[in-house]
Symmetry: C2
Subunit: 197 residues, 2 copies
């Protein structure tokens, strides 16, 4: 059995990373998605996007070193649990963590073998247009998003791969190629090779 990989995906709001990942999961239902633990209350209609746990449970997981990364925001905790990631990898499945640049940096420190991908829009102008077209934010909020995007892109050198999201179908193929090619790494196939030869 070959081992799976942990794949970190980041990218500014409006880069289209959610859409890319949704398309990817349609093509590869075997790829898992890391679900965050959060201590805030579930909102109407949020479904199973997060694991909602108590602060006590979260702090216990932290004490037991069971979180790959976490942060505190407005009195609540948000983080990536370690166990589902390790289980997926051992079972030979790839697992994707969608996370911001800070979280990506923390995970990469704990798991240097993780593969990190940054999704870029073709340009800042196009990113601005996409955010405007989306129509869900005010002009001030869009300005904040753009500033945040610039700050994130300034730290892009910590990523292994960069995918430009110009055409959605191309970007999906690019992310797919990165994931599939990493399955062919010697270290991921070592057991299979040793069994056969």
């Amino acid at each position: 059995m070959s081992k799976g990989n942990l794949i970190i995906v980041s990218g500014p709001s409006g880069s289209g990373k959610d859409t890319i990942l949704n398309e990817l999961f349609k093509l590869h239902p075997d790829i898992e998605f890391s679900i965050s633990n959060v201590t805030r209350k579930r909102r109407e209609g949020e479904g199973d996007k997060y694991h909602f746990i108590t602060k006590e449970e979260f702090l216990r997981l932290l004490d037991d070193d069971m979180m790959l990364e976490y942060n505190e925001y407005l009195g609540n905790f948000y983080g990536t649990p370690r166990l589902p990631v390790e289980k997926a990898i051992e079972a030979g499945h790839d697992i994707i963590v969608e996370i911001d640049v800070n979280g990506a940096e923390k995970i990469k420190k704990k798991m240097p073998q993780a593969i990190s991908i940054f999704i870029l829009p073709p340009s800042m102008e196009i990113l601005q247009n996409r955010l405007k077209r989306r129509g869900t934010e005010t002009d001030d909020q869009i300005d904040d998003r753009l500033t945040q995007a610039k700050n994130e892109i300034a730290r892009i050198s910590q990523y292994d791969y960069v995918v430009f999201n110009d055409e959605l179908s191309d970007a999906v193929k690019d992310v797919e190629m990165i994931i599939l090619s990493n399955r062919m790494k010697y270290k991921n196939q070592q057991q299979t090779i040793e069994r056969k030869f």
Copy 2:
């Protein structure tokens, strides 16, 4: 302009690496192929498979550190010139060196950023059958090839990627994915990103 990559391809005789690379060059005429310098005489109908140079020329290249690797066999020199590889990379082209395990090890030491791929047959039995079906070697020669294959596979851990050549079209796609995904590495796109953002 993005930089190109040096791609090292190895695999035992009968693994099908020549056929895979021929198919790949049809799909991607932009990918270059590193032509070896050799000091032996050109054989009938060999065309431009090698650069035939004199021993004096070869030794001068060696003195000037212009060879990525070389070896001596029956009084003649064979080696990979450095300049065409560096030129291709600077021009943003990928360039493939097809070479044995010893040569691959030497090149990887000089250019650790090179991407190395080992082509494996599905099993030793299938390799043996392929060599027999080829009908170009005696039984003794086939035994030698199999021993050599085992020795090469014993050193497979030095390679970045391993591709199983079960179905030719799949193996071609696998090698293609490895090459295309490496173009998306941050370090290869750094200049483009810095220009755009």
